[in-house]
């Protein structure tokens, strides 16, 4: 109680703590964003001094929940995007108190709010082609001027009336911006599109289902339509909701595809290609280089919702170009990036237990639940080969029902109840040793861990919990070295940057988004076991946020 009162002065809008005086030591033009491995080389904040970490800025956004994605620092400006309806803030790090340099509120279609149920949302701004680029939940990709916030271009690529939304930041690949849709649970057909980064014009678009030319494969014998009954591939899901990874070395785009729709597997006998797998495409044309199926005919609605990581490492004695994919089934899939060859699929915690859902029957204790075992984007500490994976340990009872496809309405066909795995805490952060293929350490968490992870050269790993605690742990031992109670649950990406004064800062946005954010919303009645696809009861003991608004915190060593 005393702690929350002590925080009150901090959260009051407009009250700021003072940044230390700028010295101008930092290159003003450089862009600092979260790296694809979520590993930072900065070492000023390390094991020895992390216990003295204190917030130096707290900025209350005034928008509810759903603060996914990472802040972006370009020169002396920190950009970050709030939840839908989005506001893009640009904060001036050069001036004491980091005041708002400008803010931009794009036009929005409120109808999209009805589509935001159960996807992870990560709307971070990214820098590319001289603009600040971001996606919006209602299907727009917008590029604005970094200095003024003036719109350079604004295109609508996803059709919300078809159940499509955008939930990941765009990926910059040369002169292209790559985006993919979400909307499996609305039966939206998955696609990935390349836009011209200077104009927003679409260069190519390929789908996850349908005939070969739609998918971008040659000689696939139209598996994208023939492994589906009738024309059900037209609303068969396979979204590209997770971030798209660019491999500049091999000239490849790597992206996973979501589960097939509907959840009830009975109406869609067959492999349901090319859902629930990993694609490698050529950036210029989108042509498929390889595809590896992970869950053909996925019966458990396991979304492939988190980011993949590319790394070059020795594997069984040979140097290989690896792709690490932490999958919703709780395994870490190691693939060869060049060929798609599957090298390993190791269970991070316990093996999944599955049995096939049947129409009008209750099938109990399928683990993991549809929400997936991976809570957020993992981070890889390159030098040590440790992969830090935020996890959830939830199981589901599922009663498959007849599903009817109606454009723009949920296409699920299942009543679901989600609960914790018996006798186990619901969350964990696992440090996975790629070399020895075992967990180096594990931290149990009371709630599923839905935030992304940040690892640093200072020997630290940062993550946040659903009840709003930011933690810094020792990267080698897993010992918690520092924690800070924020005002709301954390589902975004902790990020670190060097400020214009040359000092290292840690930035975290508190504000619960994604499925757990919806599950803890005030409009949910948890007496219904199936509320929020069954998720509401699984986190029913989650304390209400101290503040329903999102808050950006910036931490520094005292």
């Amino acid at each position: 109680m005393q702690r929350s009162r002590a925080l009150d002065w901090l959260i009051t809008p407009g009250i700021w703590l003072i940044f230390s005086a700028p010295t101008g030591a930092h290159d003003p033009a450089s862009s600092q964003e979260i790296s694809p491995t979520r590993y930072s080389e900065l070492t000023q904040i390390n094991r020895d001094n992390v216990s003295r970490l204190k917030p130096v800025v707290s900025f209350r956004t005034g928008t509810r929940g759903a603060q996914g994605g990472a802040p972006l620092v370009v020169g002396s400006t920190l950009y970050f995007l709030t939840s839908f309806p989005h506001i893009l803030f640009a904060l001036d790090l050069n001036r004491p108190g980091a005041p708002v340099r400008w803010q931009f509120t794009p036009e929005h279609d409120p109808l999209a709010a009805g589509l935001a149920c159960c996807n992870r949302v990560e709307h971070g701004p990214v820098s590319g082609a001289g603009h600040i680029n971001f996606t919006t939940l209602d299907g727009r990709v917008i590029a604005v001027d970094p200095d003024t916030g003036q719109v350079a271009w604004n295109v609508r690529v996803a059709d919300i009336h078809n159940g499509e939304t955008l939930v990941s930041p765009p990926t910059v690949a040369g002169n292209e911006l790559l985006v993919g849709n979400a909307g499996d649970d609305f039966g939206a057909r998955g696609w990935i599109a390349a836009l011209d980064a200077h104009t927003g014009r679409q260069i190519w678009r390929h789908y996850s289902t349908g005939p070969d030319q739609d998918v971008g494969v040659t000689g696939g014998q139209d598996r994208g339509s023939k492994t589906w009954p009738g024309e059900s591939w037209l609303h068969g899901g396979g979204s590209v909701a997770a971030p798209i990874l660019l491999d500049p070395e091999l000239g490849l785009l790597l992206h996973s595809t979501g589960p097939p729709a509907p959840w009830n597997p009975e109406p869609r006998p067959g492999d349901n290609a090319w859902t629930s797998g990993i694609f490698a495409r050529e950036p210029q044309t989108g042509a498929v280089r390889w595809f590896t199926a992970l869950h053909p005919h996925n019966s458990y609605a396991w979304a492939a919702g988190t980011a993949d990581i590319s790394v070059d490492r020795p594997w069984n004695g040979n140097n290989r170009q690896l792709l690490l994919h932490a999958d919703s089934d709780g395994r870490i899939y190691v693939l060869d990036r060049a060929s798609g060859e599957l090298l390993a699929a190791d269970a991070l915690l316990s093996k999944s237990t599955v049995s096939t859902p049947k129409t009008d029957l209750q099938v109990r204790n399928i683990c993991p639940a549809w929400v997936g075992a991976i809570g957020g984007n993992p981070a890889l500490a390159g030098p040590t080969g440790l992969l830090y994976v935020p996890m959830s340990r939830l199981c589901m009872d599922i009663e498959a029902r007849n599903a009817s496809y109606l454009q723009g309405t949920p296409y699920i066909g299942a009543n679901v109840r989600v609960h914790g795995a018996p006798g186990q805490p619901r969350g964990a952060v696992v440090a996975w040793d790629l070399e020895r293929r075992v967990a180096a350490w594990k931290i149990d968490e009371r709630f599923p861990v839905a935030s992304d992870v940040l690892a640093t050269s200072g020997g630290l790993v940062f993550y946040g919990t659903l009840d709003g605690v930011v933690k810094a742990v020792d990267a080698t031992s897993g010992k918690v070295l520092w924690h800070w109670q924020t005002n709301a649950g954390i589902s975004g990406q902790p990020m670190t940057f060097a400020g214009p004064d040359g000092r290292q800062y840690i930035a975290v946005i508190a504000g619960l988004g994604g499925p757990y954010g919806v599950a803890s919303e005030y409009w949910i009645d948890r007496r219904d076991a199936t509320a929020v696809r069954g998720l509401a009861q699984s986190v029913a003991d989650l304390p209400a946020p101290r503040d329903p608004s999102g808050t950006l915190y910036v931490f520094d060593i005292e």
Binding site: P110, G114, I524, D525, D528, R546
Partner: protein
């Protein structure tokens, strides 16, 4: 008892039987069900007059004249329940607990509990995510669905059981009893005390 009855005179026995038969026949009057609404009536049922803010308003005269059948007629309620699952209402509202759409169970409704509000919500949609079902359901079906939805978020106990789909539930349906509002106290619905 049996021996006494069998020993009674035949006339008394037949009288008793007659009374029993008549009383059971009286109890057998079935609720009327409309399998097909007359087109003019259906057209009239569409003429709701919501208030300018889209909340509440006057139901159509035909609805009142028919005795508000969709609120309590067992056949209409069961049709409404079937439509609720067939038209994917449960995808956003679950079985009344909500998801991307708000819950119905708690009786705290954004546009109020009136039949006209619910009807207009389904027919025309609402700006924060509710799609319009005008082109997908007949007027009568919308009323049936509205009637069923109203029973989920009952403000008071109803004599007609809604039969909410409780298959996943381990206890009897809550909506047989008055709703307990989440906003009963000034506390956030779920206490942070741990």
């Amino acid at each position: 008892m049996t021996t006494k009855l069998s020993s009674a005179p035949l006339a008394v026995k037949s009288l008793l039987m007659c009374m029993l038969l008549m009383s059971s026949l009286c109890g057998c009057e079935r609720e009327k069900r409309q399998y097909r609404t007359d087109p003019p009536v259906a057209a009239a049922l569409d003429e709701v007059a919501p208030m300018p803010n889209g909340i509440a308003g006057a139901p159509p005269d035909a609805y009142v004249a028919a005795g508000e059948p969709y609120k309590s007629n067992a056949y209409d309620l069961s049709q409404g329940k079937q439509l609720y699952s067939e038209f994917n209402c449960s995808g956003c509202h679950a079985e009344g607990g909500g998801a991307s759409g708000p819950a119905f169970l708690n009786g705290w409704w954004r546009y109020g509990p009136q039949a006209v509000s619910v009807f207009v919500s389904i027919r025309d949609g609402r700006p924060r995510g509710m799609p319009a079902f005008r082109s997908r359901l007949t007027t009568e079906q919308i009323w049936q669905l509205a009637g069923y939805v109203q029973t989920i978020g009952a403000y008071s106990a109803k004599t007609s059981a809604p039969g909410r789909n409780d298959a996943m539930q381990s206890r009897p349906s809550e909506n047989r009893s008055p709703a307990k509002s989440s906003y009963a106290s000034d506390q956030w619905p779920y206490s942070a005390a741990q």
